[in-house]
């Protein structure tokens, strides 16, 4: 019986949300693969809460590597630790979150294992006993369906593409794996970590106010920030403002940047290039404000306003404040 193994990480002391999403994906495919679900937990400290959360969601064996380098974005350390776990667990399928580190170590892990590789999955299913991966291609204009032809296979999964699973407690065990990692022996070293996170985490925000090229410059983003604040949301951007340095690159939403699935997505001055739509099309309600009535963003929006955001946002902020009694 070959298992599915998820590569799990810790964020702020708890199991990361993307790890839970991987567990959801593993639960979809594990019955067809023929086994249960294991996890490799790569953490800087024991993280017993994360182990417990994995067991609570149906993970049997947790292979745990604890090392201080596993808190630093040091992808060579994550790779070594993940490889040790995978060799210990001999899974049929390995699921890796397609985040900064995972996008690098997923392919490298596949190379080292001689494994099949599918990246950036937005959906997993089983058809005729085969694991099937769905992913966006051509800037989100098309969707590809891939069949995994051999095992082992490594699949990277886009964060926020899968819903977190409901609890399904199982009696599990944790197996600590000693992995020797020396900072100066690794080919890369993280010298510095610079945070530029929005006040509300963009990927977790229920409301996102996002600006594009049409905002015209960094000044306009102040108005977006004001609207985000009264709505209790976060500010994001499409690619041009991040490229131009108007906003930090970490605000960028799209195929290249972050994927968000908020309840409300307000696209302001965003034309709606497929590259961007690929990162926000999962929003429950999409509102577009754009001067150009032909802008492709109106093709995915539920509500549209054709107009200049500089004229629309101030009365919108005032009205929202009034309705919220602020």
């Amino acid at each position: 019986m070959a298992n599915v193994l998820v590569i799990a990480t810790v964020a702020d002391g708890a199991l990361s949300r993307s790890s839970l999403e991987l567990v959801a994906g593993a639960r979809t495919i594990a019955p067809a693969v023929g086994g249960g679900i294991d996890a490799a937990l790569l953490a800087a400290e024991a993280a017993d809460g994360a182990v417990e959360a994995l067991h609570q969601h149906g993970v049997g064996v947790v292979h745990r590597v604890v090392h201080p380098l596993l808190a630093t974005g040091q992808s060579d350390a994550y790779l070594a630790a993940a490889e040790a776990c995978v060799r210990a667990a001999s899974p049929a399928v390995v699921l890796v979150a397609a985040d900064t580190v995972g996008r690098e170590i997923g392919p490298r892990l596949a190379y080292r294992l001689g494994a099949a590789l599918a990246t950036e999955a937005t959906g997993l299913e089983v058809a005729d006993g085969t694991v099937v991966v769905h992913r966006q291609v051509y800037g989100g204009r098309a969707v590809a369906t891939l069949a995994v032809r051999r095992t082992p296979a490594v699949v990277t999964v886009k964060p926020r593409a899968l819903d977190a699973p409901a609890p399904a407690p199982t009696a599990g065990v944790v197996r600590d794996l000693p992995v020797q990692l020396a900072d100066d022996a690794l080919p890369t070293r993280v010298r510095e970590i610079v945070r530029e996170q929005a006040e509300v985490g963009l990927e977790d925000a229920q409301i996102v106010v996002s600006g594009g090229r049409g905002i015209g410059g960094p000044e306009g983003f102040k108005l977006l920030a004001e609207l985000a604040q009264v709505l209790g949301g976060a500010v994001g951007s499409s690619r041009p403002p991040a490229d131009a340095g108007w906003v930090p690159i970490s605000w960028q939403i799209g195929q290249t940047g972050k994927t968000v699935r908020p309840l409300l997505y307000l696209a302001v001055g965003i034309s709606g290039a497929t590259q961007h739509v690929a990162g926000m099309a999962g929003a429950r309600t999409i509102v577009a404000i754009n001067k150009d009535p032909e802008a492709p963003i109106f093709g995915v929006a539920h509500l549209g306003i054709v107009g200049d955001y500089r004229e629309v946002l101030p009365p919108l902020i005032a009205k929202v404040k009034a309705l919220k009694g602020q």
């Binding site: 800037g139 995994v148 080919p187 010298r191 539920h302």
Partner: protein, 261 residues
């Protein structure tokens, strides 16, 4: 110092939707009659290489794996921007290969170029966005790997890179040789070649290597592409009419009705 920049030729990602089509046979985008361009981030990678060249006098080689008949304009753009040499590995399957399949071929071409200190690629291709080639190349070449890099400096035989991260950015130091994948940043906006450089690039030699001469087989990604299709859009946009203040009020009321306030 020798830097190789891997360039991919893709159908212009800005192509209007009406001209976008999937070939049912190849399960890839139809390329015939469509404008071909350098994949978006590959130009940023080239710019980073040229900036290192400006500072250190490095030699920059542009490398493309593509059908030789179609890649001319793109490889000459690289020469016009300032690449010293250009190599096309001529493979008609080039555009259709998955990253894991093309990596052994690219690695063989890089080895044939001799000692290479840095390999730069775009952080993803504008078509399939696998993000697989740079880390696979690093493994295949036994090189250090840093992905999603915006700015690069070379100091004392090491490379220091700003890597885009989920929460901001990391400053990562890597030993050479290294493979770096490059994302866009205000600091690496591709330079515009001068007219005389565009003219001059037309006279520069482009080496063409038949893929069979490299003595490697394409790799196996271990996955079959079953289907590629354009999803049907079901959304109908409801427009809020009136003066800006009326539109704003209507929107605020709708947001309240949707229990979003």
């Amino acid at each position: 110092m020798h830097i190789v920049v891997c360039l991919k030729q893709v159908v212009d990602p800005e192509l209007p939707l009406r001209d976008f089509a999937i070939d049912p046979q190849t399960r890839r985008q139809v390329r015939e009659g469509r404008p071909l361009v350098l994949s978006t981030y590959d130009e940023n990678a080239l710019e980073v290489a040229l900036q290192v060249k400006d500072r250190t006098g490095a030699r920059v080689t542009a490398l493309a794996l593509a059908p030789q008949a179609t890649v001319g304009d793109q490889i000459r753009l690289a020469l016009a921007m300032g690449a010293d040499d250009a190599v096309v590995v001529d493979d008609p399957r080039g555009p259709d290969l998955l990253g894991a399949a093309k990596t052994p071929v690219l690695a063989a071409a890089i080895r044939r170029l001799g000692a290479v200190d840095l390999v730069l690629t775009g952080c993803e291709s504008a078509d399939w966005v696998e993000r697989a080639v740079p880390p696979l190349l690093a493994e295949e070449l036994g090189a250090a790997c840093v992905t999603f890099v915006a700015r690069v400096t070379v100091e004392d035989g090491r490379v220091v890179a700003h890597r885009q991260a989920d929460e901001g950015y990391h400053v990562v130091e890597a030993r050479l040789p290294a493979v770096l994948s490059v994302t866009s940043d205000e600091a690496n906006r591709p330079r515009l070649p001068k007219v005389k450089d565009i003219v001059g690039a037309k006279r520069k030699p482009v080496q063409t290597w038949p893929v069979d001469a490299l003595g490697v087989a394409v790799g196996d990604a271990g996955v079959d592409v079953l289907d590629v299709r354009v999803p049907e859009r079901t959304t109908r946009c409801e427009f809020l009419e009136g003066e800006p203040a009326q539109q704003a009020e209507a929107l605020a009321l709708r947001l309240r009705d949707l229990k979003l306030l």
